[in-house]
């Protein structure tokens, strides 16, 4: 077992940190294997993305194959293809409407940096408007790269380094918002 990651709660109440980090690991484990993706598909990478769902490179093996076409029910936003300046507000709107915790994969070079379209209409990378967790190079990336990116993201989620997880830690002081413990400071309320 990895050493219990000391969450930011004070080290004095040792059982609390041990308990909360174990629970955090458990919760992150649950999140990592039930990612519901919102496929924000725009361009050629979409064809490779279809191949990802198809029997040969099946993404269902990683528990992330169920696409949710509403941001309300999704926690993983996969940006597949080129994001143009006209698409940017729409991408930002979809990202805002997703519930935390949420993660973002920029699938393909165009989503990561704009690729070889450096011109007036293409936005140089989706991270100009939203924070991205995992960048996948390739134009289009091979399905194996996409699966690798998914595994990379799952490891980040397990370590609690996802962007929205980090932001939450900064704002609320600990990884998993154990409202009950936070409210009373005691375990097993």
């Amino acid at each position: 077992m990895r050493g219990a990651k000391a969450s930011s709660v004070g080290a004095s109440n040792m059982p609390l940190t041990f308990y909360s980090s174990k629970l955090a690991d458990a919760v992150n484990w649950a999140r990592k294997y039930s990612l519901f993706q919102y496929p924000f598909v725009t361009a050629c990478c979409g064809m490779e993305f279809m191949a990802l769902w198809a029997p040969k490179y099946d993404v269902a093996r990683f528990g992330a194959e169920f696409p949710r076409f509403s941001p309300r029910q999704a926690d993983l936003l996969i940006i597949v293809g080129t994001i143009t300046e006209r698409q940017a507000p729409i991408l930002r709107r979809i990202y805002d409407q997703m519930c935390e915790p949420k993660w973002v994969i920029a699938f393909g070079v165009c989503a990561s940096t704009g690729g070889f379209y450096q011109n007036y209409s293409v936005m140089p990378g989706a991270d100009q408007v939203i924070p991205v967790d995992v960048y996948v190079p390739g134009c289009p990336p091979r399905p194996e790269q996409a699966l690798d990116a998914l595994i990379l993201l799952q490891e980040r989620i397990q370590r609690g380094e996802g962007h929205s997880q980090v932001v939450l830690k900064q704002e609320k002081g600990f990884d998993v918002p154990l409202a009950a413990i936070r409210a009373t400071g005691k375990i097993g309320v």
Partner: protein, 133 residues
């Protein structure tokens, strides 16, 4: 007789318990950060236009009512089906054996019920309520 009620209450308790458990997980273990941008209605990424509370054609209403009527009609068939053999037995019906001959009450009750609703269905159909015209 008492044990039946215990079984039923147990089923209800477990059902409600599981539901509440999921709600508790969501409330205590999930992050909740409401924001203005999150509350805007989702209209495929675009700014929502128009007001959803506009007046829409009346056709939706009769169609919905018809659905409710025939859905509940289907629900009535379950108890009838469970007791069908008992109802169709003229005499007393005990442990799967009917003492007297076959009575028409079993099938008749359902048929009467269906005919009444069938007439309503035909009337609605001819009025053009079903389908969009």
């Amino acid at each position: 007789m008492g044990s039946d009620y215990i079984a039923v209450t147990l089923v209800i308790l477990v059902g409600v318990g599981v539901a509440l458990q999921f709600l508790a997980f969501a409330k205590f273990l999930g992050e909740s950060r409401p924001s203005a941008a999150k509350d805007i209605t989702y209209e495929s990424g675009s700014d929502p236009v128009g007001d959803p509370r506009a007046r829409f054609p009346v056709r939706f209403y009769p169609l919905a009512i018809l659905f409710v009527v025939f859905d509940i009609e289907a629900a009535f068939f379950y108890p009838w089906a469970v007791n069908f053999r008992e109802l169709s037995c003229a005499g007393t019906f005990h442990a799967g054996v009917c003492s007297a001959g076959v009575s028409f009450v079993g099938i008749g009750a359902a048929l009467a019920f269906m005919v009444v609703l069938l007439v309503a269905l035909i009337y609605a159909w001819r009025k053009g309520v079903i389908g969009w015209g």
